[in-house]
Symmetry: C2
Subunit: 385 residues, 2 copies
């Protein structure tokens, strides 16, 4: 493990490196954006999985974190994060018992710290209520509950409209559960290349959310908050007047895949802040081979892009398997890197890339001449259950 204070050159490869200057500019941009639009931001910790980064963003104005997994919530809680939303369905009895214990512990603190969770089925609500009851008895409002509606993602979520109303009513019947509002996330819309395509998708999302909210409020229940949005579409949700909370997480580091999207002029231009440092370990006349393969970075959203902070010809990265990357020059006739040369990769998708590593190495002063300022533990790495 690298020491704090060491130079960037001393970081052995492959390693996951955070450009802290770029990351902090991204945080400042996000905080200013949310403030300007009067919305909360609750960045998704499924991306960075670090309690320290969650706390750093909360110090900059974030209201808490989202997580996808019970074990991620436990890792955040253990790291001192007290306002946690599990933006996903949990149905196993053993996991719901853990959820109930966390919720009851936070409730007992009698602060603004809360646990919240999403539901999308009557059986899920019933199981959640029973689990909370077993741990917290008849204590009121132990956990906040969002009804998730499927607004086009085609994954979890009840259908918008009457089915969501029925579920909201069911939640409200359990005194231990506090019906808080709607979870409405369209993940696929984040990654549509053209701005107009994303606008069209989110316009349809907004119609469904507004119609469902109106039905629930007509049934006498208050929809206090609509939560959702991701880095690809957040300016649309923020300007909608419908969403009160943005869950965007990737803005912090920025995937290579997001850089391929047509920009939304209303959204801050976030910078890449997460890199895999890699070294050339083999060369031939046709290519160079580096020591970072898909055990170092996820490839579900495409292969990484090569970044050369010190210049040098553009290189294309080809899949070399679990432990290797194949590098060829983007233009013919350009020189290949030499044995031992260092290169930097921008991962196609940050979330599953971070999950491959135990630590991120935080660097101040750039990737060429910077120094290691902090080691960021990936607290929730492999926190699957």
């Amino acid at each position: 493990m690298i020491d704090v204070g060491a130079s960037v050159q001393a970081i052995d490869t492959p390693a996951l490196v955070v450009d802290l200057d770029a990351m902090e500019r991204n945080i400042a941009r996000m905080a200013a954006f949310a403030a300007a639009h009067g919305v909360h931001w609750r960045p998704h910790a499924k991306m960075h999985k670090s309690a320290a980064l969650a706390l750093q963003m909360m110090a900059a104005g974030a209201v808490g974190v989202c997580v996808q997994k019970t074990a991620e919530a436990e890792a955040m809680l253990a790291g001192g994060v007290g306002n946690i939303y599990i933006s996903n369905e949990v149905v196993s009895l053993s996991k719901l018992q853990r959820v109930a214990q966390m919720a009851a512990a936070l409730k007992a603190k009698n602060t603004s710290d809360r646990l919240a969770i999403a539901v999308d089925s009557a059986e899920g609500v019933q199981r959640l209520a029973e689990a909370i009851g077993r741990v917290a008895g008849d204590t009121r409002d132990v956990i906040d509950v969002f009804v998730e509606i499927d607004v086009g993602q085609g994954r979890c979520g009840v259908a918008p409209g009457p089915a969501a109303v029925a579920l909201a009513r069911q939640v409200a019947q359990h005194p231990q559960l506090r019906f808080k509002g709607l979870q409405a996330y369209h993940g696929g819309a984040q990654h549509r290349r053209r701005h107009a395509e994303r606008q069209q998708a989110i316009a349809e999302v907004l119609r469904q959310v507004q119609a469902t909210r109106a039905l629930i409020e007509a049934a006498g229940l208050k929809v206090e908050l609509v939560t959702g949005a991701g880095t690809g579409t957040m300016a649309l949700e923020a300007a909608s007047g419908v969403y009160g909370e943005l869950q965007s997480g990737s803005f912090l580091f920025m995937d290579a895949d997001y850089a391929a999207n047509e920009a939304d002029p209303a959204r801050p231009a976030f910078e890449h802040a997460l890199f895999v440092k890699t070294q050339v370990v083999s060369t031939s006349a046709a290519h160079a081979v580096c020591d970072a393969g898909h055990k170092s970075h996820a490839i579900d959203s495409g292969l990484p892009r090569v970044f050369r902070p010190d210049g040098g010809p553009a290189l294309a990265y080809f899949n070399g398997g679990d432990e290797h990357g194949i590098l060829r020059t983007a233009e013919p006739g350009q020189p290949l890197p030499a044995l031992g040369d260092v290169l930097w990769l921008i991962p196609g998708h940050c979330d599953p890339t971070v999950n491959l590593h135990d630590h991120m190495v935080g660097v101040r002063g750039g990737l060429s001449a910077g120094r290691v300022e902090r080691l960021l533990r990936v607290d929730a790495r492999g926190a699957l259950t």
Copy 2:
């Protein structure tokens, strides 16, 4: 973490589960196969990353382990494995120092335990010799060295023929290094669908290995061992009379991808022994959603297959992102699984799947009625450097 003795039903999801009965049948088949062909087997620990499993296979006749990374070698050594081959190039000075320390420590034990490594460049040999010299002075034969030749993979390896001879000579000039033979691995050939395609690829591999070996021996150096092969082609290398050692690792668990290959009748029919246990957390009229996405299993070699040990209609798995899988019935009109139902996934590629988990849960007695017999720590998970 699940307790030893618990029932399979008690394993929370998603979890990586090893069917110990199937795994041990695979080990017995491999041991019998290697004995029948008079070849060594040195299964690749980049796949299972568990020192306990390495030792279990060595007790069944394996000569040691292969690894790809210095940190994997360290994890195996720490777990009691003493015969380790780093079948990959290492060029960073800090890693070579670690390599030298391990090699010198094993040499000093004065047993048959050894460290070995691959090289494919003059600079790599020079750096290795200097690192060994700094740690071990002029001690002779501290580390075994294989010259890697590129036999069609198009990744690492020097060209077969005179370039390999020059490298072997260079190795032999350093008394601390013992030139041991050739590393010749054609990874791409493992995954060709038709047996005839694999035969053709390995026939060309054998021609290149034999020609290079003849040149090196004509130069007065002994090629004691040719090492290589994987689960997809191992019967071809084993029958060749050229390869003395098989590196196959995947036979232990078997990827879903391998099951898509036309079988080689000369190779044992290995069974799937690695599964992701997952639970349905959301349902709709069109699909069910389970709690295992590509943070639970690697998708570089395709999506997982769904296995239902208790029957039920065939299901197809679609990518639902990092934390979810979308399940649809393979035949229209069949019932979807219900909320809370348990399903089992056969990962497309075991190596990077194991690397996502801290533990594998070893089950005896099958996936329906079995019990947890042992927890297998993934010792080298994330051992990237």
